[in-house]
Each structure stands twice: as C-alpha cells, then as structure tokens.
C-alpha cells in the first residue's frame, strides 16, 4: 500500500515528496516575507511622513515624491547590506512574490506621480485607489502563501478603501488612510519581524 503505481507512472512516494516540497516552499515563502517585515514598517512610516507633510507643512505637492524617493534610497541601502541567504530565497514562490510587490509597488508610484504631476491631487478618489492597490498586493501575497494574517491585512486595506468612498471629508479621508497604514502596514510589519525573530531564535537553538 505504500508505493502504488498509478496510471501516469506517479507513485505514492513521488506524491508525498511533491507535497513535502510544496509545503517547504510555502514555509520558505512565508519566512522570506517575515524576513522583509522591516520593509512594511519602513513604507508605513513613509506614508505617515507624506501624509503628515501634506497636512502640516508647505510645498505639499513635493510631499509624496520626496518621501518616496527618501524611502527608496533607505530601502536600497538596507537591502544591499542584508546578507543574501543563498538557495533559500530563490524558489518559485519567492519569484512570484517579488513580481507581485515590484509591479504593484511600481504601479502605485506611477499612479501617484501622475496624480501629482497633473495637479489633480485634490481629485477625490485617488487615496482610496492607493488603499485598494495595497489591498491587492497583500491579497495576492496572502493567497500565494496561504497566510491568513496577511489576508487580514488585505481586508483592512480594502475595508478602509471602501469606507473612503463614503466618508469623503478631508479629516475622514486622513483618518482612514492613517488607520489602514498603521494596521495594514506597520502592525503587520512588526508582526512579521516578531515571527522572524522567533524563527531565528529557533534556528539558533537547534544549532
């Protein structure tokens, strides 16, 4: 009963090995998302800085470009200094997740630049769209990793985005944006960092 040959020549052992490989890849994907928890925190703080600038400082049209550029520089410096974990992060799931975050992140930047350069930052609805873009990235990532905490983060982004379509005063928009950024990005990032710390401690213990 342990090694039945099937119609297509696939044995039970083959299937068990494949399932084990897939589970290992899912776990690696989650671990690498947890390893990049600091990025969520960094981008959350960048969103806060940009929104704070638009509310309290002059030259508001420069808030998003300057904050995104500063964040990208910090991001590049930190990432270039991080040791690359050979063999572990180069799985297919990792490649898919990289594609999701790079394309959607790039799309958000292009969208925000178009809003600002065209002088339509006062147009209603663009902040709601940014929340939905973030929900999309988290939702795809959660589905690929089958990871419910990230699905919760996606639901928070979508929920706040939907609410923003109904609560449209400047104060309400800002409150919803700050709530989504705090819960969906900073808290999720801190949770991922906490998971990574736990995994690192476990590895050290086993070593």
């Amino acid at each position: 009963m342990t090694n039945i040959e099937q119609h297509d020549g696939t044995t039970r052992d083959d299937l068990v090995q494949r399932v084990a490989l897939m589970e290992a890849m899912i776990a690696e994907g989650r671990q690498s998302t947890a390893r990049y928890g600091w990025m969520f925190v960094l981008w959350g703080l960048t969103y806060f800085a940009a929104i704070g600038w638009t509310v309290y400082l002059p030259y508001t049209e420069w808030a998003w470009p300057v904050c995104i550029a500063a964040c990208t520089v910090v991001f590049g410096i930190v990432r270039s200094r991080q040791p690359r974990v050979a063999g572990k992060i180069d799985n297919l799931r990792r490649h898919s997740l990289d594609a999701v975050w790079q394309v959607i992140g790039g799309g958000i930047v292009v969208y925000l630049l178009a809003v600002i350069v065209s002088g339509q930052a006062k147009e209603p609805g663009y902040l709601a769209a940014v929340l939905f873009f973030n929900g999309l990235a988290n939702g795809v990532s959660a589905r690929i990793l089958r990871w419910w905490p990230q699905a919760v983060a996606a639901a928070i982004w979508w929920g706040c985005g939907t609410a923003m379509l109904f609560f449209t005063t400047r104060t309400e928009e800002l409150a919803l944006f700050v709530t989504a950024t705090f819960c969906g990005m900073i808290v999720f990032g801190l949770y991922a960092m906490w998971l990574e710390r736990g995994a690192a401690a476990l590895e050290l213990h086993h070593a």
Binding site: L92, R93, G107, A114, S118, R143
Partner: protein, 211 residues
C-alpha cells in the same frame, strides 16, 4: 566536468535538472494563460457592452444606473458557465503547478479588488472621476504586469504598459477623451490580447496534433 560536487552538495546535474523544471513550469504557466484567452475577449466585450448601451439610450436613468451591474453579473455568469463546461470536457482547467497557482491568485485577487472598488464607487455614486477610471486601468495593468514578470512573457508586459499608459494619460488629457481611452484599452489590451492568446493556443494544439 559534468558532475561537480559543490560545498553545499548541489551537483551540476542537479542544477541542470532544476533549471529544466523551472523552464517547464514557466512554459506550463504561459500555456494556462493562453488557454484562458477567451476570458480576456469575454471581459473586453462585457466592458464595452454597457458603454454601447448608454450611447444607444442616452437619456435613460435606468440604463445609466443598471447597465454596469447587469453587464458584470452577465460576465460572471458566462465565465463560470464556460469554466464549468471546460472542466467537464477536459478535467482540471487550472494549472496545478506553483506558477499556475500564482497566476490564478493574481487574477482572482485583481478581480476581487476591482469588484469591491467598483461596487463601492457605484453605491457611493463616485464612479466617474478621473482617479477612479485611471485606477481601474491600473488594476488590470498591474495584473498583466505581475503575470508577465512571473511568466517572463514580453507580449504580456507590453499589454501591461499599454494599460498603465492609458491610466496615466487620463490624468493629463481632457475628460472628453476618457471614452476613447477606455474603448481603446478594451479593444487592444483585452480583446486583442485575448485573440492573440487564442491564436497561440490554436497554433500549439495544431503543433501537438502534427507531432
């Protein structure tokens, strides 16, 4: 020279096998996107239908309010029926490999996000400011872009760029052009790409039969 043992125990043959497996998975992922070419054509037509309906009956509030929900409900029903028929004919329709599942995750979540955004905006009566239409084009562009990057497929990358260019152009052109941009995107980025995918599938099938 063919089988160097490395420090981590990975041999050259192992690496060759892994590369071959990854290439096969990429090809399988592309094949599964190609197999769903009809869905792109369907949604292109579904999105054009309410616009045509509103142009044909310009003064009806009922058509203005209900053409989009009706069209989308029809699109969902046709898509599910088509998938059910395919499942009955060919068995599993979705690719079971990891790349195929990633692609299906991208499109499923894009559909969900666009639906939530669209439904929210419809109920709140905020569906036609520039930012809203541009965001819808960006959603589709993001899904195409992610899919293109996962499958390393230039043709789909070009389609993603076209969607994004349309989204950005909406902010810079006058409101009068939104209809032309929207219809252009649907014809080229949705129906055109779907027909191209269907043509590729047909070619692949005739190639397999020829062999």
């Amino acid at each position: 020279m063919t089988n160097f043992e490395r420090e981590d125990g990975v041999t050259r043959d192992d690496l060759v096998q892994r590369v071959a497996l990854m290439e096969e998975m990429i090809a399988e992922g592309r094949r599964s996107t190609i197999r769903f070419g009809w869905i792109f054509v369907l949604w292109g037509l579904i999105d054009l239908a309410p616009i045509a309906w509103q142009l044909l009956v310009p003064h009806s509030d009922w058509v203005k309010n209900w053409s989009w929900p009706i069209a989308i409900a029809c699109g969902v029903a046709i898509q599910f029926s088509g998938m059910a028929i395919l499942r009955r004919k060919r068995g599993a329709v979705c690719s079971s490999n990891m790349r195929g599942r990633s692609i299906s995750a991208v499109w499923a979540m894009m559909g969900l996000t666009a639906m939530l955004y669209f439904a929210g905006a419809m109920i709140a009566h905020k569906q036609w400011p520039v930012a809203f239409t541009a965001a819808m084009l960006m959603f589709v562009g993001m899904a195409h872009g992610t899919s293109a990057m996962i499958l390393r497929w230039k043709a789909q990358g070009v389609v993603a760029c076209v969607w994004w260019i349309g989204g950005v152009a909406l902010f810079f052109l006058s409101n009068r052009y939104w209809l032309q941009i929207f219809v252009g995107e649907m014809c080229f980025g949705m129906i055109g790409f779907g027909l191209y995918a269907m043509w590729l599938e047909r070619r692949n099938r005739s190639g397999i039969k020829g062999e």
